[in-house]
Subunit: 222 residues, 2 copies
């Protein structure tokens, strides 16, 4: 079986989300870099893979997919050896209730956590790299939105070990790529008020699959 | 079996998304209004249902859920009579490829289409209702973002009858609540440049389940 292909480098948080799923299930995969400097992402070949001209795109034989939160469940389903295999049971699809809770907290990550984190990253890292000045007001508002999310997480993690319940899931893993960059920024101090969130993140970062992808991210980020 | 409960009125697009799934599968349900005027949504009882103090929340026996794009698949799975029942096969989970494509286009709806549509709605309807003046610059930017999404949809719908393929899915249905309000606004003219998108929306709006929920939305919006 030819290995699946992931288009886009690990430095992109949405690519890292897919890679960690592939690492968790131990799948063979090939990363195909897309050269943003020559606008390869907006070329016809890549637009056929991802109509929005972004990364990741994902290829498994005849199937071409985009959107990291659609690719990730596909990967986890494809390589799941059995419903009882805890090691790769990151969707909990054996239980309608548990899998709905995984969906709910993954949606929170996508719609609340990620936009707040990413907005800070863009202002603090991307804007200066392009010669601009970070908008401190935008950063302040985003950190405030992040706090609202972390308030809810801290309360949730007082009741359960992970977001969707007492089991690790894709909903948890999906948080690490943005956190990886955020923790290197001065704003990381915001997490000091959230000891349970901090411990939960440490738990996620201690997973071998996450360590492997963090390594790839660091290598690619330049 | 006690009917499931949906907390929040049909006028909220995220509530309407859940209701249309219940209508599609012909489930019994009860709508429990949350009184925003007395801040019931931020009271302890509702925060126990939805930790972000928003609607919808959803109760099925002991299970309490939030996030409409997590509740909707749960509803569709619960009442699915068989994998071959086309009438309620809106997730296509019998095929890993098709269900991944449904996930991908649902993600596009959540992350690209909905924020652009909703931003216009907030400026045009909510801001004046609160005594403010719509920010035309924000509206212009949002309409531009919407156009980028519709460009992709128009091309996609040239190849397939629906977003995820030649079958209707949750990814399509999920678009109607925002479209219902948008089509009553002067900005609706933007859709004139997208004849395939227009026809696709008309197809969705012609579904009995959608008609039923549109009726509930119109009754509740005041």
């Amino acid at each position: 079986m030819a290995p699946v292909k992931v288009f886009g480098s690990a430095a992109f948080t949405n690519v890292a989300r897919v890679l960690v799923c592939l690492e968790e299930v131990g799948a063979e995969y090939e990363i195909v870099d897309i050269d943003f400097h020559v606008r390869e992402h907006k070329g016809p070949e890549h637009l056929a893979r991802n109509p929005f001209g972004q990364v990741p795109a994902f290829q498994d034989g005849d199937l071409m997919l985009f959107q990291s939160r659609a690719i990730s469940p596909y990967v986890l389903r494809k390589y799941k050896t059995s419903a009882d295999d805890e090691a790769v049971n990151l969707l909990r699809e054996g239980s309608p209730e548990e899998s709905a809770l995984v969906d709910a907290w993954l949606d929170v990550e996508a719609l609340r956590y990620d936009p707040a984190m990413n907005s800070v990253f863009v202002q603090h890292r991307v804007v200066p790299a392009l010669g601009g000045t970070p908008d401190e007001e935008v950063i302040g508002e985003s950190v405030e939105k992040l706090r609202e999310v972390l308030d809810v997480y801290e309360a949730r993690l007082a009741k359960h070990r992970y977001l969707a319940g007492d089991f690790v899931s894709l909903a948890d893993l999906s948080h690490f790529p943005e956190a990886h960059y955020f923790m290197e920024m001065p704003y990381a101090a915001v997490f000091d008020s959230y000891p349970r969130v901090r411990a939960w993140l440490e738990d996620i970062f201690s997973r071998p699959a996450v360590k492997k992808v963090v390594e790839l991210m660091s290598k690619d980020f330049h």
